[in-house]
């Protein structure tokens, strides 16, 4: 039931817990400017506020070896000035107008957003249109900003044993798919990155015909369109060269990896190869279109709250896990994984924990789920569909994600009916088909002592990835 973006494990360290669901957005209006910019507007008149988001179809999964992290580094540099506005001016102007702003990069998209009092929408449009085509990318600013990005990598990945292990899990699970690359990039790539590479990346992907403008709030769609024409209309389009994404080579057996890091707790992570909605629809005929929805229901039955199976049977019940969570990346652009992440309870080994998790998966792969479980997941999806409308930002996220991964936002409307139509037989079928050893990767975080002298040894180089 989760539209996930990026890695859920990383997400949980952020405030912005956006792992919610799709909303039915029947009133969304769609326009396309002559230069190819897609404009989506949803009126929501609850408060005199507007959210404006610009989504680009580029992210870590567009990157090639040697250039990992470039989409994210460019996102940072988008705040560093255009011909018209000096570095930092963008943020200063938004701030003076009472706005909240930020940006985020995932595997499949890069997005920039502002939330403003509704009359100030033109300010956001003017600034976003300006930096869509006129970024200056000064070398001195890049020299500082890439240091910031490396500090960000230290903060999020190097110094977090769990994030570090998750990065290794992904790099192991995927052999040829670009999902093997971390969004923030490998440190060696960050160290070698040049501002000219960023300039090329910017030229290649930042154009109106590779972007979606999403506006949600107390606005009139027609007026938004007029404003969009005024500010974004004059921008020239580009020829967007299609990226050459390697498909994931078929996995033919279980993969195991051990990651040794200074840590207090062991950690178990398991990834099963699964299709996403987009990968299913893009390979028409390869597998039925209901499968991703059945995987959503399966995820809910295993991990959709305190009454779900993993919490009920493994945290309570057998008391083998201190913490357990499951994520399925339904809205991934490419074929994806369903991941389970768990910390063993005191005095429980990773082997015992893995065995118990696999018993749960075996059960759901051999025996139909009960009607009560199916009904619960559907009740949650129906309720969440309403709850999510409480957030303008989230409503924009849903539209932006669907458009950016190559599906129409209209697919968001299908979500609730498609989940409601899922049967117990279909849940059994996807469990049987995808929760199999041949598509499984297991990563174990093996704690090294926290003692700094031991640590110095462990981090003597950047090459301590254990594959």
């Amino acid at each position: 039931m989760k539209i996930l973006h990026g890695s859920a494990i990383l997400l949980k360290t952020l405030c912005l817990g956006l792992a919610l669901n799709t909303a039915v957005l029947a009133e969304t209006q769609e326009f396309t400017l002559d230069n190819g910019l897609k404009v989506l507007v949803k009126e929501d008149h609850r408060a005199p506020v507007v959210v404006s988001q610009v989504w680009y179809k580029v992210g870590a999964s567009y990157e090639v070896s040697g250039l990992t992290g470039i989409s994210h580094a460019l996102e940072h540099m988008m705040f560093k000035g255009t011909k018209k506005y000096a570095p930092g001016e963008f943020s200063r102007i938004i701030s003076e107008n009472g706005g909240n702003e930020n940006a985020f990069t995932s595997s499949d998209y890069t997005a920039y957003f502002q939330t403003l009092e509704k009359s100030r929408l033109p300010i956001s449009f003017e600034l976003e249109a300006d930096r869509m085509r006129h970024l200056t990318l000064p070398a001195d600013e890049f020299a500082k900003e890439i240091e910031v990005v490396m500090e960000e990598r230290r903060l999020r990945t190097e110094d977090s044993p769990e994030s570090f292990a998750f990065e290794t899990l992904m790099a192991t699970a995927f052999q040829t798919s670009p999902y093997r690359q971390p969004i923030i990039g490998w440190m060696a790539d960050l160290e070698a990155m040049t501002v000219d590479q960023l300039r090329d990346w910017y030229q290649r992907f930042y154009a109106p015909n590779n972007a979606t403008l999403v506006v949600i709030g107390d606005v009139e769609a027609k007026k938004v369109l007029k404003l969009a024409r005024k500010y974004f209309g004059p921008l020239p389009s580009s020829e967007i060269e299609p990226e050459k994404t390697l498909p994931e080579t078929e996995q033919r057996g279980i993969k195991r990896v051990v990651i040794k890091r200074p840590a207090e707790l062991p950690h178990l992570m398991m990834a099963y190869k699964t299709p996403s909605l987009n990968s299913t629809l893009n390979n028409a005929g390869s597998s039925p279109a209901w499968e991703p929805y059945a995987l959503e229901v399966l995820s809910g039955i295993l991990d959709g709250g305190n009454s779900a199976r993993l919490e009920t049977n493994l945290v309570r019940g057998k008391e083998l896990a201190a913490m357990i969570s499951l994520d399925y990346r339904f809205t991934a652009r490419l074929g994806t994984v369903l991941t389970i992440s768990a910390i063993p309870a005191a005095d429980v080994s990773l082997d015992q924990l893995e065995l118990a998790i696999r018993e749960e998966l075996e059960r759901i792969s051999t025996k139909k789920v009960s009607k009560a479980e199916l009904d619960r997941v559907k009740a949650q999806v129906i309720a969440d569909d309403i709850y999510q409308r409480d957030s303008l930002f989230y409503q924009g996220m849903v539209l932006g994600i669907f458009e950016s991964i190559g599906l129409s936002w209209k697919h968001a409307d299908d979500y609730v009916p498609a989940v409601k139509a899922v049967t117990a037989e279909q849940v059994l079928a996807v469990a049987k088909k995808y929760l199999v050893d041949d598509g499984l990767t297991v990563a174990e975080l093996e704690p090294l002592p926290m003692d700094p002298s031991a640590k110095r040894h462990a981090t003597a180089g950047e090459s301590d990835y254990v594959h």
Binding site: L16, E151, E158
Partner: protein
């Protein structure tokens, strides 16, 4: 997903004000609970927050007791098992959550308003806080899970730094100890302690209720009456002791294998009812509170590229909440980052903001007012804060005018009154080579 800057996962100063502030309805129940209600009819849903004056400041020498009590409520109640309680919410699409901080411990319910869904969810919630069973096996499991969580904190330099800073700022005060407790306190904890804590603090006179959603006043009144059936009136919790100011500067270095050194600088800050609150709020916005625009952000990140995240905040509480400034950078640059942070704090205390900075901050805070109350969940947060801290009902209506009224001189005076740059605690966690571990008085 990567965000350009980490936001701080706490409610800083709650700010808001103009145009359409929500109409807050207030009443007190016969048993003494205080209710704050805002009607919003656009979505068929309701959010309810019950905040008890039962946070970790009430631990009474047994750190972790408030949080464990709060956790244990839904582990079995009114004869229903934890599994039945969980299904009792989730079968209906309702969402139950609980949390415990320093000042209060709360329970939250989000539900659709269809009576067939809302009524049973409310009855389930009622049992949770009026008739908890506190089963022994759940207690043993949850204690064991908290002990695991404590280990997890030990591997996080950020958690180590904030625990250490808080302990140094608060010394013997109840705010000093970690909300989760310590290994010793958890081992010593008995079910009887939890039952006694529950009986004393989970009472109507100690309760503030915030409700936002698609109900009218009559429905909300009935909802509260039904919900509180069986909750004794009890007694209001006693006032907490005041926080003593620090007498000298202190630097604490903790060795940790992280590549980055986490740096925190802090001192006791202000109480929620402090008359300096607005000058400090606006002033801190300029120093380190303004997201991508602040002095610390400019000096640490934009000018020097030293760190991904840097910030400062006052966290007003019942008693004096902390002032904290923080950043993190690789070990070789840690001393430089620390020096710049201290310099910036000192400079701000001495000179205050420029006229331009003040004007820009006011524009941000007042111009952004509508954003702060643009959803039910935002309104609920303000409502709960207004209720728990007994703020005036026109808090949101007067917010912008109070921001506008702040002068540069008031900011300078308020900062100088509340913060002493010579008595700051500094915590550094990381590969603090060359310097002895432990506490150094400077």
């Amino acid at each position: 997903m990567f965000i350009k800057r980490l936001s701080i996962c706490i409610l800083l100063f709650c700010s808001a004000a103009v145009q359409a502030s929500p109409d807050i309805q207030f009443w007190e129940t016969g048993s003494g609970a205080r209710v704050y209600f805002v009607e919003t009819h656009e979505l068929p849903m309701v959010d309810i927050e019950l905040a008890f004056d039962a946070g970790s400041s009430r631990d009474g020498g047994m750190p972790g007791l408030a949080m464990m009590t709060n956790t244990m409520l839904a582990e079995g109640a009114g004869g229903r098992t934890v599994d039945e309680i969980s299904r009792g919410f989730e079968d209906l699409g309702a969402v139950y959550a609980n949390s415990a901080g320093k000042d209060n411990a709360s329970l939250n319910l989000r539900s659709l308003v269809d009576p067939e869904l809302l009524k049973p969810a409310l009855e389930n919630l009622r049992l949770v806080f009026t008739r908890p069973d506190f089963p022994e096996d759940s207690f043993e499991r949850e204690r064991s899970r908290v002990l695991v969580a404590l280990k997890q904190k030990q591997q996080s330099p950020a958690s180590l730094a904030s625990d250490s800073l808080r302990s140094a700022i608060y010394g013997e005060h109840p705010y000093a100890s970690p909300d989760e407790g310590t290994e010793d306190s958890l081992q010593a904890m008995r079910l009887e302690d939890i039952k006694a804590f529950y009986k004393k603090y989970y009472v109507a006179r100690n309760l503030t209720i915030a409700i936002v959603g698609d109900l009218d006043r009559k429905q909300a009144g009935q909802l509260v009456d039904d919900l509180l059936t069986g909750l004794p009136a009890g007694n209001k919790a006693a006032s907490l002791p005041p926080v003593k100011p620090l007498k000298e500067a202190e630097t604490i270095k903790i060795s940790h294998p992280s590549q980055q050194t986490h740096i925190l600088i802090g001192q006791p800050g202000i109480r929620r009812d402090d008359p300096d609150l607005f000058p400090l709020y606006v002033g801190n916005h300029i120093l380190g509170g303004g997201g991508l625009v602040s002095r610390l952000f400019e000096e640490i990140r934009e000018k020097r590229g030293l760190s991904y995240s840097t910030y400062s905040y006052f966290f007003p509480m019942k008693q004096t909440g902390p002032f904290t400034a923080g950043t993190q950078t690789r070990a070789e640059q840690a001393d430089e980052a620390r020096r710049i942070m201290l310099e910036q704090i000192r400079l701000f205390i001495e000179k205050g903001p420029t006229a331009e900075e003040l004007a820009a901050a006011k524009k941000n805070l007042t111009g952004g007012f509508p954003l702060r109350i643009d959803s039910n969940s935002d309104i609920l947060r303000y409502l709960s804060m207004i209720g728990f801290y007994n703020l005036p009902l026109d808090y949101l209506d007067t917010f912008n005018s109070k921001v506008e009224a702040v002068t540069a001189e008031q900011i300078r005076v308020a900062f100088a009154r509340k913060l002493n740059p010579d008595h700051m605690v500094t915590v550094m966690v990381g590969q603090v080579a060359g310097l002895a571990e432990g506490s150094v008085t400077e």
